[in-house]
């Protein structure tokens, strides 16, 4: 039986190595493909690296928004995309508070983190390198997760304050 898990993210610790992108795409695409990775590291300003991935909101607005019911939630609490059903309309992106989903570069189908079926590869490489920006949490659905579904630029503005103090208000 698979259990509910979640990927905790510590933005201040992200080094920007982007190995999570490489590990994710190796697992899902069989090759290095940063823009097909389900976790993408944004950088609105150098030093403000934001790993951007599905937060698994407790109310799953994306799932509800899909007009063809291509999205569903599995036992790990991940959102799975039925690629045969998906029509690439982009409604899930609009519904997501953090605009996390994106359309697959090749065929335009929605792409969302599936938690690697319970064993997320991004977390592995991030921890292996000692960064701990992404960590695995074994816990059930809860209301806090949605706080992490935000656009990268919003997160970056806060990281900027933390890292640069007052100057942080000027860089983005």
């Amino acid at each position: 039986m698979k259990e509910p898990i979640w990927i905790f993210r510590d933005f201040l610790k992200c080094s920007g190595c982007r190995r999570c992108e490489l590990a994710c795409s190796l697992n899902h695409e069989g090759w290095f493909w940063p823009e097909a990775s389900r976790v993408r590291v944004f950088m609105p300003f150098p030093g403000l690296e934001v790993p951007h991935l599905c937060a698994q909101c407790d109310d799953y607005p994306c799932v509800k928004s899909c007009p063809v019911e291509a999205l569903r939630v599995d036992e790990t609490t991940a959102v799975l995309v039925d690629r045969d059903k998906c029509i690439g309309c982009g409604r899930c992106i609009e519904a997501c508070p953090g605009k996390v989903p994106f359309l697959y570069p090749k065929d335009g189908k929605a792409t969302i983190c599936d938690l690697c079926g319970g064993d997320p590869q991004c977390v592995k490489v991030c921890n292996e390198a000692g960064y701990l920006a992404l960590q695995l949490v074994r816990e059930g659905q809860n209301v806090n997760r949605k706080l992490f579904s935000r656009e990268p630029i919003e997160v970056a503005k806060e990281i900027a304050l933390n890292l640069f103090g007052e100057k942080g208000t000027e860089v983005i």
Binding site: K13, S15, G16, C17, R18, R19, L22, S25, L26, E29, G30, W31, F32, W33, P34, E35, A36, R40, V41, F42, M43, P44, F45, P46, G47, H52, C89, G90, I93, K99, P101, F102, L103, P105, G108, V125, E128, A129, G130, Y131, E151, P152, L163, F164, G165, E166, K167, E170, V171, I172
Partner: protein
């Protein structure tokens, strides 16, 4: 299509506003790889016949930003910038770590080649749909920080507008210049990510001379296909675990080991290399870390070595300055070499240089040269407009601004240390070239040769890249393996492992590339071509190999203090090693390649030109 390559280069002629794509033959790629090697080959093919007449800052020069077959795949992703160097009048491969390189490959290009000159400031936007020339009037005069902020926003919005429902676009990879590049300061760097610089060679000035403020690229494709993907995947993991095990370097970067360069081996520049030793012990890693480091582990694409440390000064008179650690080179050149022995001032100057787009080593060297002339009373308060005392961070900040704007004395210093020395000698009627610490027009890195504990005697003297410490020479065999390879495969030297990288190179390209073949064929081919272009030189300076392919005069003066007091570079050793280096490479005693060697390396097309050089 050759493996590891995206398969095409983007070409832009700014004078005619034309953009097209070029594909290179596999045999050319196999012979020159990419980056530095390929740049030399392309420059020879296009400008070789007229090389001495080509003004590095004229529209006839070509600016290249090239990846190599390992870029993006091998950990430690870099971009190599090149062209005819306004410092050496030869070819230098200057690399910097940046997502620009991986974005370029995922957009389907191995590099960008820019010729001509735009009639007004522009930047290039490169995507999978090709390249486009966009106006940059709003960016001209802007600092590094401002340029990044504006471009990130502008380009992300533009791309989202074009393809509105695919989701958010990650920011583009960008290389750009600061005001220094715009004003054609010969020591201006090509900048990226606020504080990463392709510094040696002066390619920021080349971009500026083309009115090219920046190149921004966003790709959405995969990295190129390789010959043996499974082997690459396995090696990729192994290399990363090696990198991850290097705890000290990961934690401290170059500033930690570098500190010992000054404090143990006595080879750090102090007061324009008048000394290489100081008793002051206040400028090590921890002095920077605790007050200023904002991120201890700061990486670039596909790198877990993270030697860069994001720094920010949060209070006091330099409040708001953002830069990296600074790394060892900046620590030395913007510290002791200016008589500065505190972390706050060194960090501040590093941020000033970043924002202006000045190369810290090269322009830092020129500032120290000016300060020594002030110390000697050759340059006066009247010449400068203010007093330029050792250790005065405020005065050096002012001088950096004047150089980057070519104001007053800054206009002369903007020509780089050697050219400035020639001009000042003329103006003052005193020979000041003995105080110019450069080799072949390139200001030397912060590693001296005198104590014998750091740089070897011919590290700079024999190098086709002159003072470039990242490309130092030794025996004509082993040194081919390091920067000549790394800068042509275009990966970071700090991540380059001797066994693993050859296995990796074979698995990527499918070519029979071994260390020995590289050290006896590829490497010599690349540096021989570079040597010929350097010897051709011009138009303002032509090198005399017998006189100029040597250490700076200062490196033959005895060290005045410290544990190596009295030691200087051994002239006999320099001569012997240089001759040996030339011999190994099949060059004559003056460093001019012999006919047999040209033929053996497949460079017979150089013979007509080289035969003339042999006669001069």
């Amino acid at each position: 299509m050759p493996r590891g390559y995206a398969g095409k280069l983007l070409e832009v002629d700014l004078s005619r506003e034309k953009i097209w794509e070029t594909t290179l033959e596999e045999r050319i790629l196999e012979a020159f790889f990419g980056g530095r090697g390929l740049a030399a080959k392309i420059l020879w093919d296009r400008l070789g016949d007229i090389w001495p007449q080509v003004d590095p800052l004229g529209p006839e020069n070509i600016f290249l930003a090239l990846t190599g077959p390992l870029t993006g795949l091998y950990p430690g992703t870099r971009i190599c910038c090149s062209g005819k160097s306004p410092l050496s009048n030869g070819v230098i491969g200057a690399t910097a770590s940046s997502e620009f390189a991986s974005e370029l490959k995922t957009a389907g290009y191995d590099g960008v080649i820019v010729s001509g000159r735009a009639s007004s400031p522009i930047y290039l936007l490169v995507t999978e749909d090709g390249g486009e020339i966009r106006g940059a009037d709003h960016l001209w005069g802007k600092t590094g920080e401002e340029t990044i902020r504006i471009l990130n926003r502008e380009i992300s919005e533009e791309l989202e507008r074009r393809r509105s429902n695919v989701g958010l676009y990650k920011e583009p990879g960008i290389i750009y210049i600061g005001p220094a590049g715009e004003n054609r300061i010969r020591t201006a760097a090509v900048m990226t990510k606020i504080c990463h610089a392709a510094g040696y060679g002066g390619y920021g000035a080349v971009m500026g001379s083309k009115n090219l403020k920046a190149i921004a690229v966003k790709g959405r494709g995969p990295l190129p296909e390789v010959e043996a993907p499974e082997t690459v995947r396995i090696l990729w993991r192994e290399i990363h675990s090696n990198l991850i095990s290097r705890e000290r370097f990961r934690r401290w970067g170059t500033g930690y080991g570098g500190y010992s360069v000054g404090a143990e081996t006595s080879s750090e520049p102090v007061l324009n290399w008048q000394s290489e030793w100081h008793d002051e012990r206040g400028l090590g890693g921890p002095r920077f870390e605790v007050p200023y480091w904002a991120k201890r582990y700061w990486s670039d694409f596909n790198c877990t070595l993270n030697c860069m440390k994001l720094s920010c000064i949060k209070a006091g008179r330099w409040k708001g300055d953002i830069t990296d650690a600074p790394d060892y080179e900046m620590q030395a050149y913007l510290g002791p070499n200016l008589g500065i022995f505190n972390a706050e001032d060194a960090t501040h100057l590093s941020a000033v240089f970043d924002n202006l787009g000045l190369s810290g080593i090269n322009s830092g060297n020129t500032m120290a040269f000016a300060a020594e002339l002030y110390q000697r009373g050759i340059l006066t308060k009247e010449d400068l407009g203010f007093e330029l005392r050792w250790g005065d961070a405020e005065a050096f900040t002012k001088l950096a601004l004047m150089i980057s704007k070519r104001e007053g004395i800054g206009d002369i210093l903007a020509e780089g240390t050697y050219r400035a020395a020639l001009k000042i000698s003329e103006l003052k009627g005193i020979d000041v070239t003995p105080y110019a610490v450069h080799v072949k027009g390139v200001e030397v890195g912060a590693h001296g040769t005198r104590s014998g504990r750091d740089m070897n005697p011919i590290g700079y003297a024999a190098s086709v890249q002159g003072g470039d410490h990242t490309s130092s020479t030794r025996d004509g065999y082993d040194d081919m393996r390091w920067s000549v390879f790394n800068d042509s495969a275009v990966v970071c030297g700090f991540c380059s492992y001797d066994r693993l990288i050859w296995d990796f190179a074979r698995a990527v390209t499918g070519w029979n590339i071994t260390r020995h073949r590289w050290c006896t064929e590829h490497g010599p081919r690349i540096v021989t071509l570079q040597q010929v272009l350097l010897l051709l030189g011009g138009p303002d300076i032509y090198w005399n190999p017998e006189k100029d392919f040597d250490n700076p005069p200062r490196f033959y003066e005895p060290l005045p203090e410290g544990p190596y007091k009295g030691k200087s570079t051994d002239r006999a050793a320099v001569e012997m090693m240089k001759r040996n280096y030339y011999k190994v490479l099949g060059w004559d005693d003056r460093g001019i390649p012999k006919r047999e060697m040209l033929e053996r390396l497949g460079l017979e097309y150089l013979e007509t030109t080289v035969s003339k050089l042999r006669k001069t």
